[in-house]
């Protein structure tokens, strides 16, 4: 229900929405900033100007039509496969957790991890490009071997919130996980 001023690792503003459906079921949604019209205009103008310059020298109209096609296809590809609108984490005590990503075109991908496979949800550090960032991840275990961590699933990979946001989500998750 809260919506303080959180940012992601690059300094862009994101928003966190914590919704408590019941005592043992909570949902956290991290929303990234929307596709900005200004940026789209700038990219489109650059590509078209470039195409026009090439046309000016080669006098080949195929350059212009291909530039238009590339821009359209590129934009569609971007909003359908690349641009994430919001990511959510649904924690249901003693059942499991559901991680879903919703893209700008409306496409949604969902993964469910059952509670018997979950060892813990922790904040870990990682080297990402030229910096070290904190990220929230789920530690998975093989039910046959409860002591060992079999794999790690990072959460909020596209929005990459900073530590203050992660700590809030972490504390809330731990309240539920510790009860079951």
């Amino acid at each position: 229900m809260e919506d303080e001023a959180f940012t992601d690792i690059n300094g862009k503003a994101i928003s966190l929405d914590c919704h408590s459906h019941s005592g043992f079921c909570r949902e956290f949604t991290v929303s990234s900033p929307k596709v900005s019209v200004g940026k789209v205009m700038v990219y489109t103008c650059c590509v078209w100007l470039l195409a026009y310059t090439v046309f000016f020298f080669t006098q080949n109209t195929a350059v212009l039509s291909s530039a238009i096609l590339i821009t359209l296809v590129g934009m569609m590809f971007h909003i359908h496969f690349v641009k994430v609108d919001h990511e959510s984490l649904l924690v249901i005590g003693s059942l499991g957790i559901q991680v879903s990503s919703c893209y700008a075109s409306g496409r949604e991908t969902t993964t469910f991890i059952e509670m018997s496979k979950i060892k813990d949800i922790v904040i870990n550090e990682a080297i990402y490009m030229h910096q070290i960032i904190y990220y929230l991840c789920v530690l998975l275990k093989d039910p046959a071997e409860p002591k060992a961590v079999s794999s790690v699933v990072p959460l909020f990979q596209s929005s990459k919130p900073r530590l203050n946001c992660l700590v809030k989500v972490y504390k809330s998750c731990q309240e539920i996980l510790s009860k079951c």
Binding site: T7, I9, N10, G11, Q131, I132, I133, Y134, R162, L163, N164, V167, Y170, K171, Q174, S178
Partner: protein, 352 residues
Amino acid sequence: MAHDALFHAKTMGLNTVFTDHSLFGFADVSSVLTNKLLTVTLCDTNHTVCVSYTSKENTVLRATLNPEIVSVIPNAVDPTDFTPDPSQRQDDRITIVVISRLVYRKGIDLLGGIIPELCLKHPDLHFLIGGEGPKRIVLEEVREKYQLHDRVRLLGALEHKDVRGVLVQGHIFLNTSLTEAFCMAIVEGASCGLQVVSTRVGGIPEVLPEDLITLCEPTVRSLCAGLETVIARQRSGSVPSPYSIHACVQNLYTWRNVAERTEKVYDRVSREEVLPLHRRLRRLRSHCGPVAGSIFAFSAVLDFLFLLLLQWLVPDRVMDVAVDATGPHGLWRQEQSGEAGGTKQAAESDIS
């Protein structure tokens, strides 16, 4: 790369500590230039750590440092990893183990001279040599020439986890290095209960007490004589048992001791101030000579301007600061015993 990192750290205003692990020469042109570079890097470093007193002397002379800011903290060995196992040895013969990189610096040429002489005198002597390098060909030639294929085994490159398995198969550990600041290998050999024979170079005399090591001059004759005495002692059975040697070494070098001493250095350094840019430039120019000092003062200014550019591109406020690993109110310090319950409760309270 360490020099690079130190240079940038000082531009960013961080305290710096440099640890030196090797000895270097003074004589040839490349050494002179490297030593000059070291002088420049260390002139405004807060503290330096060396692994032996010989290494301290070497570093202080090379970089014209103030000896007060150089500490000596030796390396250690994990005694639980390197335990003796006399059952792995073959008692009908005497095995000499050598584990090192097969390069000139490690005295492999000396080894190539010792092997035929000793193998001729002692028919039950065997050599077990682990490690790879360009000088492997010397040892293979010696083996070919004197037909010692069954008595000299060359194991090639060894993984770290396999080293102990090779060491326990021997009675004597031989180290023939021509220069060494602090030799980890002889401590590992002694920890596995072997008799150690080594050349008296660099920091080696400081490493083990007199009764655990036999020191020789770095010549074939001296090493042969040293090995002969140890072989005779081994034959007569007057050597201390591997377990007693291991017990002795276990108390000499522990990682806990090294960690405590290093922590003291870091605590001391964290209280010192870092030189601001103008004082740093003045120190570079006064301490390092006119030419090198001016060049590096210029680089320091360029580095500072580059830092300003980077701070504009990726502002400091965007980056998360490292969380204190001792936990809130020092809950996760080593002295505390409760782990799982303590960490969960600690996480509930406010971390930032």
